[in-house]
């Protein structure tokens, strides 16, 4: 954790924004290692994929549009700010003294819902990975909200910077000379990417469906799937990549994932249960849960993948 403190301090103090982006990448990796040490593999998975990978790439896209040095602001009244932050931090730390020790079996959170999930998950749902069963079934409503958040974020980005600006038609073609400059002529990168991208997409599918048994699930799989396409777009041009996965397709998948999730919930109505009650979806409750979790995770994966791809392409298409 000393790493994280040092890196956090450096992130706040360095002026060069590019260095800050790099250090943020290392920070996310360190956080992921911390999660691994705390035995939370799924969280570490998602933190690595999202924090260290996609966030760095997207922040670089932002940097390409803005300047790379942070503007020096005059810090006249910052003494009071520092005092306020220190006092608030101290109060928070003091508050944690009252909390039970880490891993204490008599702590309050271990007594109400958590044991119920841990004990009943085997019988009611029958999946080895309790995290997935909690995420997708016991707390399925929360996960629906998360999927909606991702969907809204993607729509927000598309609305704000997806449209060309008024009065300017983006109609200049790329000059032949520019083709020579791009990464497209780099044989090594091209060949290695062509070898790797099918493997990456296959791995994304593996993570998606294997989330019932090991770490994984919809969020991680969506990010890995998107990163395959982002790699393609980085090595070849944006337009080549856009012809491979057109805007229409990402739009459709973005909505399809959310629809699938909500549809599974509503299907519960017609089968005689509550919203998002998977037990009524199939012949036996356990297989109903399996079916429900399968479909729901697939919906999550679709939306996350489409959202990441759209956001990346929107950022990368902007001109200076």
């Amino acid at each position: 954790m000393g790493f994280m403190a040092v890196i956090g301090f450096a992130v706040a103090r360095l002026r060069n924004l590019f260095a800050v982006v790099m250090l943020t990448g290392i920070f996310s990796l360190t956080a992921a290692v911390l999660y691994v040490l705390l035995d939370a593999v799924d969280v570490a998975f998602t933190e690595a994929a999202v924090g260290a990978g996609i966030s760095t790439v997207l922040m670089l896209g932002t940097l390409a549009l803005t300047s790379s040095e942070e503007r020096v602001e005059s810090t006249g009244g910052s003494r009071w700010a520092l005092v306020l932050v220190v006092v608030t931090g101290a109060i928070l730390v003091y508050g944690t003294f009252d909390m039970p020790a880490f891993g204490d079996p008599t702590a309050a959170i271990h007594h109400h819902v958590a044991p119920y999930y841990l004990e009943k998950s085997g019988q009611e749902i029958g999946l080895p990975n309790v995290v997935t069963s909690v995420l997708a079934s016991y707390r399925g409503y929360d996960t629906l909200g998360e999927v909606f958040v991702i969907f809204t974020a993607a729509i927000g980005v598309l609305l704000i910077i997806g449209r060309p600006q008024f009065g300017r038609r983006r109609s200049h073609r790329m000059l032949v000379g520019e083709l020579h400059e791009s990464m497209r002529t780099n044989v090594i990168l091209r060949v290695v990417s062509k070898l790797l991208i099918p493997v990456i997409l296959l791995f994304a599918l593996y993570v998606q469906w294997h989330g019932d048994f090991g770490p994984g699930g919809g969020f991680q799989a969506g990010v890995i799937f998107a990163s395959g396409f982002i790699l393609y777009a980085l090595i070849f041009d944006i337009d080549t990549a856009r012809t491979m996965i057109p805007a229409r397709v990402t739009r459709i998948f973005l909505c399809l994932g959310v629809l699938l999730y909500t549809g599974v919930g509503i299907a519960g109505f017609f089968m005689g249960g509550n919203f998002l009650n998977y037990s009524v979806l199939a012949a036996t409750p356990v297989s109903g849960q399996h079916l429900g979790i399968l479909l729901v995770e697939f919906g999550v994966g679709l939306t996350v993948a489409a959202a990441m791809i759209s956001i990346f392409f929107t950022f990368a298409r902007q001109e200076h």
């Binding site: 790099m22 290392i26 290692v33 890995i224 759209s310």
Partner: protein, 95 residues
């Protein structure tokens, strides 16, 4: 022995972080972040063995992947100062 390897990895991570904060040019920092990512892969694998939980290897594979894509993205950004240039096409933009 595993503990020794873990210590070695941690020491090397500290060296990489040192280089990433210090490195005068931007390429030093990219290099340090790349090495840090690979070291994280090793750390996860060794820790997975230490705690008898081989699911961690999926995690290590994802880290290796993300590390690679991140380094390529950063190199492209630094070399061309853009992440992809539009050349016309659909006028609706990305909507």
């Amino acid at each position: 022995m595993m503990v020794a390897v873990t210590l070695a990895v941690l020491v090397t991570m500290a060296l990489a972080v040192f280089r990433s904060i210090l490195g005068p040019t931007v390429y030093d920092r990219i290099l340090a972040v790349n090495a840090f990512g690979t070291l994280t892969v090793v750390l996860i694998s060794v820790y997975g063995f230490l705690s008898e939980r081989p699911e961690f290897l999926d995690l290590a594979l994802v880290y290796a992947l993300i590390n690679f894509i991140g380094t390529i993205a950063v190199s492209k950004y630094v070399e061309f100062s853009h992440m992809g240039r539009p050349t016309g096409g659909d006028e609706l933009g990305d909507i």
